[in-house]
């Protein structure tokens, strides 16, 4: 096992004294569960070959998107890479429009032009994503710059993977954000892999957040499997951004259970130890939080059952919506090449 769960390196933000109200805690739990169930449903139907789109599921990493977005206003803007589903849903993106996009329908959130790697919903601040690794990082910094110069109220959050920090553009964007003290939070979801390539063949053994820190950006590494840790760290960073104190960098460590793309676990192929996946499943963001909430009597079996039911019905009707929606026509091809 190359990358065991290693809490020693994490900075802790959430103290057990902090008291959140039940509604908030339930909301976090529900959002993670909802993302998990949606991803599972996508995975279970992917073999039907009707979602003709490359998918990058977020199972195992739900806590980062949910914890971060819980610290945001609806007007704040989120940006991400190819692994879009979690951020899109946590930011409040329309599920039906997402499913339509995956099913290549005209009413998809990108009108079937973007596919799974280009989900967005500008009405809730899910502003943009890019299928080019690190491609949306400069975009996010530019939006933060606009906010600062125009004295807009929104801040930006840039979600990126560990491999995105190998692209020079990330360091260029980080430098600019630090130089101008822009209202932005970088969330680096470190899951140790870039497709099948482990961190060790891509970066020397130095922590990613330490590098960001050296650029003058307050940076931490946190336990990305714990939604309250993520939330607390994000709150601090969001506060910093909103107050004009500049950017922050959060390295959130969590693990993806399934393959880089597609719907199955490909660990057996040899690039990682299947035991590593099992190991991380023991630190599953949802069951960990479940146990925590139950131990604190904040969640009951009945409530969970009810939740599952509601989510199930929402998911089914979103799939139904997508499947029964029309495909775009040829006339779509040449529209919006230019904006008016």
């Amino acid at each position: 096992m190359r990358y065991p769960y290693n809490p020693e390196n994490f900075t802790s933000f959430h103290s057990s004294e902090t008291v959140y109200d039940k509604a908030f805690l339930t909301r976090l739990y529900r959002e993670m569960l909802r993302i998990r169930r949606i991803e599972e449903e996508i995975a279970s139907r992917y073999h039907e070959d009707e979602m003709k789109s490359p998918i990058h599921l977020v199972i195992g990493q739900e806590s980062t998107a949910v914890g971060v977005c819980a610290a945001l206003e609806k007007t704040d803007l989120a940006f991400c890479g190819h692994r879009t589903h979690g951020v899109y849903l946590a930011k409040g993106g329309d599920l039906k429009a997402m499913m339509s996009e995956l099913y290549c329908r005209a009413n998809g959130c990108a009108g079937s032009r973007g596919g799974s790697m280009h989900l967005f919903d500008k009405s809730v601040g899910m502003e943009s994503s890019s299928a080019i690794v690190a491609g949306s990082i400069p975009t996010s910094v530019g939006a933060a710059f606009a906010s600062q110069r125009r004295k807009d109220k929104f801040i930006c959050v840039s979600f990126l993977g560990d491999a995105a920090t190998e692209e020079g553009a990330f360091w260029e964007a980080l430098n600019f954000a630090a130089l101008h003290k822009l209202p932005i939070v970088f969330i680096c979801e470190n899951n140790f892999f870039s497709v099948c390539s482990p961190l060790e063949v891509r970066q020397p053994k130095v922590a990613i957040y330490k590098k960001a820190e050296s650029f003058g950006v307050p940076s931490v590494q946190i336990d990305g499997t714990k939604v309250l840790e993520v939330y607390a760290a994000a709150r601090q960073a969001v506060e910093r951004a909103r107050s004009g104190a500049g950017p922050s960098f959060i390295e959130s460590v969590a693990y993806r259970y399934l393959g880089h793309g597609g719907a199955t676990d490909d660990s057996a192929s040899g690039y990682r130890d299947p035991a590593e996946v099992e190991h991380w499943r023991e630190h599953d963001p949802i069951s960990t939080f479940h146990d925590f909430l139950v131990s604190k009597s904040q969640l009951t079996a009945t409530e969970i059952e009810q939740m599952e039911k509601e989510i199930r019905s929402e998911v089914l009707s979103a799939f139904e919506h997508a499947i029964s929606s029309p495909e775009p026509g040829e006339e779509e091809l040449m529209t919006h090449v230019y904006s008016d």
Binding site: E127, G135, P138, V141, A173
Partner: protein
């Protein structure tokens, strides 16, 4: 939108190729455009490595940061890829960045952001996003610019959907097209030429736009059509000046923008002359010359009375050395030679 309104209100928009107004230098015309835009629309900002230098960038930005503040006219780190994306992001949320570069060569660092991002947002967003971004750079030539500081890369970008590409050659057009570019809601590249920037000409005061995608006749004639932009067209005009006493006349068309391309004006002229010479400041192969040459062979074939000819740069690199450079760039004499050949046949 203060900006759009001001432009529409402007009568100057209707003015065609300036024959009146003050005489202004090319550089001053450009600076005036920037200054007007900054004044009109608080969403406009101007950035680039050196825009705040004492002499500004080639004089084009001189003093603007003093007039409008370093919040709106500012120097940048040397991070072309990152900054291009930053500009696209700012544009995506409604600002109107004008990003200036000394040389188009530096844009090669930013092709990922230009080609795979800025040009695609509007389309990929199904029309919900738009990118009113201007990227300006000045093609270098002479004095040892050499292979890495002289590349006229418009031909590499002409095929990319979603971009607009402008190549002015007069002070009037430089100002009017800069204003049009800033007012446009699409990622627009302006390739200036360092040698065109030495000229002076009539430039109206105030706001006016030269339409993007419209060429103009610089000369009228009957023997052939010469079409192109920027400094290459200026050399062609000189060649025609010399040839005119010999009784050779041509329609000389300054396209001013290469994307969108004004096909109509080319076809119109070709119908009359039957012969076409395409000139460009970039590599001849697979670029602007090739596109226009192929276009007429495809859509105006039956008007062609002889082979299409093109004059761009040979399939080699720009030499830094002075004497070698003289051989590299096609000059007036070379153009005259080709034109005579075309007319005589």
């Amino acid at each position: 939108m203060p900006w759009a309104e001001a432009l529409i209100a402007s009568k100057a928009e209707e003015v065609e190729v300036g024959q009146e107004g003050r005489i202004l230098s090319y550089v001053d015309a450009l600076r005036e455009a920037l200054s007007l835009a900054l004044d009109l629309d608080p969403n406009v900002f101007v950035l680039g490595q050196g825009v705040n230098d004492p002499r500004g960038m080639f004089g084009v930005t001189t003093g603007l940061h003093e007039e409008f503040g370093v919040e709106r006219v500012f120097d940048t780190p040397l991070s072309e890829e990152g900054l291009t994306g930053i500009c696209a992001g700012a544009a995506l949320v409604g600002m109107r960045p004008v990003y200036l570069h000394n040389r188009p060569d530096f844009l090669l660092l930013a092709f990922n952001q230009i080609v795979s991002h800025a040009s695609k947002f509007s389309w990929m967003d199904n029309g919900k996003g738009r990118v009113p971004l201007v990227i300006w750079s000045a093609i270098g030539r002479g004095w040892g610019s050499g292979a890495q500081h002289s590349q006229a890369i418009q031909g590499l970008l002409m095929g990319v959907p979603g971009l607009k590409i402008i190549m002015p050659s007069t002070p009037y057009d430089a100002k009017g097209l800069m204003l049009a570019a800033i007012a446009d809601n699409n990622p627009t590249l302006i390739f200036e030429h360092r040698w065109s920037m030495r000229s002076k000409g009539h430039v109206p005061e105030g706001t006016y736009k030269v339409p993007i995608g419209k060429g103009v006749y610089r000369k009228r004639g009957t023997d052939l059509t010469v079409v192109g932009t920027s400094h290459a067209l200026e050399v062609a005009l000189e060649a025609m000046d010399e040839l005119s006493p010999q009784g050779i006349s041509a329609d000389v068309i300054d396209l001013r923008t290469i994307k969108p391309l004004d096909e109509e004006i080319i076809f119109e002229s070709l119908k009359k002359t039957g012969k076409i010479l395409v000139v460009d400041t970039g590599w001849q192969m697979a670029g602007v010359c090739a596109e226009i040459g192929c276009l007429v062979a495809e859509k105006a074939f039956h008007d062609l009375k002889g082979p299409v000819r093109r004059i761009g740069l040979p399939d080699s690199h720009t030499p830094a050395g002075f004497s070698l450079e003289q051989y590299y760039y096609p000059n007036k004499e070379k153009m005259m030679g080709v034109i005579k050949e075309m007319v005589e046949k």
